[in-house]
Symmetry: C2
Subunit: 453 residues, 2 copies
Amino acid sequence: MKSRIILDEDEIPKQWYNIQADMPNLPKPPINPATMKPVGPDDLKPIFADELIRQEMSTKKYIDIPDEVREILTQYRPSPLYRAKRLEEKLKTTAKIYFKYEGLSPPGSHKANTAIAQVYYNAKQGIERIATETGAGQWGSSLAYATQIFGLECMVYMVRGSYDQKPYRKIMMETWGAQCYPSPTDMTDAGRAVLKKNPDTAGSLGIAISEAVEDAAKHENTNYALGSVLNHVCLHQTVIGQETQKQLEIAEEKADVVIACAGGGSNFAGIAFPFIRDQISGKDRDTEIVAVEPSACPTLTKGLYAYDFGDVAGLTPIMMMYTLGHAFIPPAIHSGGLRYHGMAPLVSKLHADGYINAVSYHQNEVFESAVMFAGCEGIIPAPESAHAIKAAVDKALECRKTGEEKTIVFNLSGHGHFDLSSYQAFLSGKLQDYEYPADLIRESLADLPKVEV
Amino acid sequence: MKSRIILDEDEIPKQWYNIQADMPNLPKPPINPATMKPVGPDDLKPIFADELIRQEMSTKKYIDIPDEVREILTQYRPSPLYRAKRLEEKLKTTAKIYFKYEGLSPPGSHKANTAIAQVYYNAKQGIERIATETGAGQWGSSLAYATQIFGLECMVYMVRGSYDQKPYRKIMMETWGAQCYPSPTDMTDAGRAVLKKNPDTAGSLGIAISEAVEDAAKHENTNYALGSVLNHVCLHQTVIGQETQKQLEIAEEKADVVIACAGGGSNFAGIAFPFIRDQISGKDRDTEIVAVEPSACPTLTKGLYAYDFGDVAGLTPIMMMYTLGHAFIPPAIHSGGLRYHGMAPLVSKLHADGYINAVSYHQNEVFESAVMFAGCEGIIPAPESAHAIKAAVDKALECRKTGEEKTIVFNLSGHGHFDLSSYQAFLSGKLQDYEYPADLIRESLADLPKVEV
């Protein structure tokens, strides 16, 4: 029985899996807020590479991964699948626990998988510069890493609160040649407007998105890139689930439960979609798919399935998704990557159609599981990824009660090397749990855009 | 041609390689400063586990790695050997560059290799607590990781300067259940004595060693552990070189140059000793072995081969080694792990006997190579490990001139996730190079202990 199931670099998947080909019902189309008509390819051309737009709208089941992309992926893929034997022993569970580890990528999470692909297509099209926003810093780091490799310039608008809190993330991006500024900046109309009203603001992801989109629209040969939510981002992450299935085959295991945390939905989609494919096709109907979110930002568990904007300012297309309302600003929990009011439209539709169970946890119980996991398996997880650990631990404890011998698989989407101040807050008892902010959410949900399709 | 050569977990070496069995001349024995006689096993028993003392003095060529140790090693071993293709292209070199990457261990460096083994033998002997010192924090983190796995308590005296500079390292150790205090503390005689004289001292490795040794001697069931210099530490690191040789075989390559940075000497020993074995046996006389050190602390390149203390206070055994004098305090360069006045006695003897070439570099040129490497290969290296990169780059540029097609292999001993403030200093032009501190070294070398053997 092996602790770590590894694949050879030849076994990096040769194609991405596009779940749009298999879904019994596709989500309703995104809407252009200017025309209130469904978004077409031409609406996206000013800021996205053509091939990414094609992938966004494609219903082809498998899409070839270019050799150039696979070659860069070999810097850290295939990623290992681990058996968490010490954790099993600690929990005295009858279950088996496996985890797929995405934290070995140079920027430290799964985000690199899509950054490489997105930058490749932009480079191929002659784009010389990419602008983006970053909250926690994982996505900005990943884009910096990928642009450096392909020789593009990179401009990152980092939410000022995070920028001040996580100086190492900024230096990491600069080491990879990117420029990183605290948002709001005085370099965009959007930023200046906010600064005029509130010079001391800590910023928000919504503002940073507006700045990056404006930057891309206004600069020569510059595109925009997004690290989650969109269909093509979920697509690029399916290397995770495809590798996991191959590794489970080698281990002669069948997954009974597949778990991942869900913020915008991309690491969840990455591991889950290939398993949902097998559910839909009838190859394996019994795998339970679980999305885990913070109680302080319970998009799938307490949100509405409705049309809403992707950003606070209402500049992005209006998407059909689970949402807490685009005006909802989640409490300042330590999982920055899970503080998003919406959810990937594909993940949302699959949840609405009953393919996904969603659960939520408070941050103290999540950190408790994270510290226990670090003690058993060595790896200190990102707070986001620790949500998946907590759900896996709970499933394993259920099995201990029932005596079931389930195989539980979760996605450990990143390491926590840059999140240690959160661990300090937890270890010193200073981490606060937030009750479900029902009032705030009710208020925010009252303000959804009206769409008739 | 593969980018990443991986081994299966069954291929973790089953034995450590003990170079003491093969050396034409062994180093002169360490001397007990109390008796001025060679150190015997009984001198070490109060603070080291029996099996580690046996390994320290053994001349058996191969020593079995216990299954329990190999099982923990599977959490991150075998480590990958990478071909640095993008770096080669960048340098337009005719050489091939490979690197062995030890930064995937949970604490982030090769130090975990010996921490696991040391804690295992201590646990087996019923020891319940281990005390140690740490400078940069890599060793303290590794011991915290290993003690947590085996259920021992861990006490780390961290040099106060580092403690204040790298708060994340301390939190990492605490997450793994260790206690970590800034040294000097008021918990030991040694610490109190220093604080009385100088309450605001930033501490030093020498003081921290004294505190940890005193702690181990005074506490019930507590031993001491050291992360470099000693024979058994070098022994445990030989998994690195053994794996590398197997991986080169798979790649159908023969190493012409093997490079590692050298502070206390353990990561260098780890990759180099199996290659030196083949030099000594005549199997392969042509491999050049290169140790790289900072110009600010040039132990092998400017030091004396002489008997000296391992610590500043003169409490440790007196060892025959290259030394800058135990009173030498190196300038505050950003490679904390290379700021040591001495060098492992085995590495020293091999250098004295002509098996090793030593070179030194200033820190700005080292960081230049580190940033170039990060841009090509993704990984942001620890400043210590970046010394090896700089030497590899220079070798590759030599080949570009001569047209030679050498195969260059270096050990990338750790990642730089907790060293990003050094990168910031470099990127902002604030990093200072120190001239070879000839006066300081001359002064310090005037104060060596007198030993007659």
